[in-house]
Amino acid sequence: MLCKLAWGNVRRAGRDYLVYLLTLTLGVTVFYAFNTISMQVDIAGIDEEGLAQVMGSMLGDLTYFLAGVMAFLMVYANNFIMKRRKKEFGLYQVLGMGRGRVATIMALETVIVSVVAFVAGIVLGMGLSQLMTFFTASLFKTQIANFHFFFSVHAFNLTLACMLVMFVLTLLLNLRAVRRTKLIELMGAERRNESIKTRNPWIAIAIFAVGVVLVGVAYYRLLRDGFPLTATDSKLQEAMNQFGITTAMVTVGTFALFWGLSGMLIKLLQSLRSVYWRGLNMFTVRQLAAKVNTVCFSMGVIAMLLFLAITSVTCGMSIANVMNENLERYNPVDVSQTYVYYTPDTLDYYKEYVNPSEADRMVLADTTVDLYSAWHGKGKSADNNDETGKKVNIADVAGEHVQIDSYLSYPFGGSNPSVSAGEMCKTMGEKLPKALGGSNADTMGLFVTPASQYNKLRQMMGEEPVSIGRDQYLLTCDMGGGLGDLYTKYMAGGHTLTLGGHELKPATDKSDKDTAAIANSAMGSNPGTVVVADELLSQLNLQPYSSSLLVNYKQGMDTTEADESIKYTLLDNLLVDGKEPGSWGIFITRSEMYTQAAQMNGMISYLAIYIGFVLVVACAAILSIQQLSNVADGSRSYRVLAQIGCEDRQIRHSVMAQQAVFFLFPLAVGLAHSFVALKVIIELVSIFGNMSIGGTVGLTCAIFLAAYGGYFLVTYLMSAGMVQAAIATRYSE
């Protein structure tokens, strides 16, 4: 009997339940599909074992986040439906049904809807996850060799568990609502004049102003300080604290903004008398004000979510783009091996904190080592981890090669570099690129490299050598963006550099970024190097910092085979006179970098798009539910308006205006936040290369906006239909 009643109710209240059902289904679909990503990665033929793991762990965290968003959405949808159904539950009680049985009916209704939503969601989710596999494959630039229909038990269980938790949660909330509400309120839920929670407009304006000021100051602080990523250890904690304050300010400010919005709007429009007392403007504003008061919190949340979505998508995809665009420049040769020399600091550190006996073996290098001969037969093979494994031999594969030595520009015994970006800026009267503020780029200084080595790399790459006289210098940098521009400007300005008492003039007015790398890398290897004549360098007696061997494979050699043959897990220590002048650094093959970049790019884009999409859809769904429930609540008002002679068109305009504010205001605030954050991020990323927000990023954002706008449109059309139904009178033909 109760089941029958519940089923009948769900069918009859289909329209109300539709919104709830759709939201729930959407949630289940997205949740299931998201959790099949690791399986999609398998099928898409991405067989890098590390990647799957990284993805797996990242997804684990994101699942919680997603579950949180979903829970918020569902509680919201549930409240919407409960408000609609209150009267009916009241009626059952008036007819003599006990509260327990009413609660049972309600629980049954929730069960029916949840089960339907779950089944529909899983089916759609399965479909979506198959489609997403192709999307995944295209993002990771792989081919799907063996596509087959798949079903993830793991994702299914996770979704089911999540649904159950949420089901219990909503049920408890609903039971509490039924138990707490008085019968008279249930019955009169529609009719009673709603008491309007008005806020003192002056307090509201004050709060709004506080919000504006907080957000403004936070913007200023962010633009001034940037992100704390580049700060060095000593300043990091301080920078993090400051950043925390900025974040808190913008968050509190955003909520204050929405809290005070209604009061501000009313006062503003009331002061414009001829606008306020015209058409339905007054009604629109009051309607907005009444609703904004109750939904200011969720509007704040939505603004922040949109901010996160826009920023994460734009930023993630742009970084991926920058990495991709500059990959060729960052990886000039087939393979590179770096060796890093000990500095006085490292020696001190070992002596003091690590192992004094080990430190005894370590020496400061007074000259660089020859890596080519040192590498000869030193490594232990990758496919043979034990000590007896075959030694890798660089000579087996090496064709053209060059060693690039980088020296510190410290004069011996000195504590400050002779050449630093900071000093250059001072000379030119300019500011250091923002991303370097607070970093150690200033104190670290530029490297110094002999011209012969630089020119040899140029030759290898098919470029003309640059002639650098004994009293000349050349600045190189492969990082592009702000730093590269700084050096170019310095040389073009004809500024001199002083190294070990020698005053040097620029050899040319600009340097070639494409031959500036000093090793293969993901994001650039050369933050700034002074190239000087070999004979000058030998006189300067500088401390070696690192050496890199850059190798191209022999003509006609298969890259994959060559990569395999010199892959190693460990290189024997390099000893000079029984002492160790440094340690082996990074070994990078070009093909490895390309694969990694493609995968990294794929992963970043994937997560960014996915998170962004989930957030945008969730926000739009919340807004949509809010607006539909507002319109349903307001149907009596619309009927009254029609009766006192208001044209349908005017009423629809008022509805449109109200909804536009609800949809556009959080979007505008979110966009403003993103704009400021992105400005800082772009500056940061520009150290590595010029970041462009266009192409795929533009397209992705356009899709998001289309989804958001689509929700707006559908909501408005549904609302217009509801208004029409509310004011429609029985005109017989």
Binding site: N193, E194, S195, M282, F283, S637, L641, G645, E647
Partner: protein, 261 residues
Amino acid sequence: MQTTHMATPVLEVAHLEKVYGALGNVTRALNDVSFTVNRGEFVGIMGASGSGKSTLLNCVSTIDSATSGTIRINGQNVTRMKQAKLSQFRREELGFIFQDSNLLDTLTARENIALPLTIARTNSAEISTRVQDVAARLSISQVLDKYPYQMSGGQQQRVAAARALVTDPTMIMADEPTGALDSKSARLLLESLEALNRRLRATVLMVTHDSFAASYTSRVLFIRDGKIFTELRRGDTDRREFFDRIMEVVAMMGGEGSDAL
């Protein structure tokens, strides 16, 4: 108070019919109803529930359309009007007072009263003075800045009356205006309507099933089964006497087997 020079008809209803439902299941809510209301009259329409009195008011007030027959208000045939024109007509010629005051919750009393004027794009200075005037007439000046939930039922109903009057409509339509009020508030509202009618010559058409409310009018039309059963004029009798006469008719109608009132 009735004088002869006011005999211009404001409302002319002729052979009005309203049929609900399709073939085989027809409800004839109004059956050949004809009557005239002159300018400055205060007319009551009485009848049991289901008698057709609300249908009549809905048709006259252009909220519902008639099946056949004509309704002329101020000489204009409203049965032939298009939707957009009807909105304008309602706005300019008619004022409504409903059983539940139907004020908008989110607006203050002042804004509720001003609404018909803002919809008609009256300029803001004029809106202000007209709202003040009508509020003073209905003695609600002190609640103008309150929200509906802060007012008593009687005050809400008088605000609704003010909203109906503020446009100086040709005719005020009141549908059970005292239905949701206690007797004191009901009397206050009826006295206001009576005063409006007498002093400002406002034409009022009031549907009610309450003989007491009907006794404030100058003429009562009784409707039964979709037809005008009889009508009663107050003439120069006082209200109490008129009330007794109304009760007699009501008793007679009830005695002939129709629904009790």
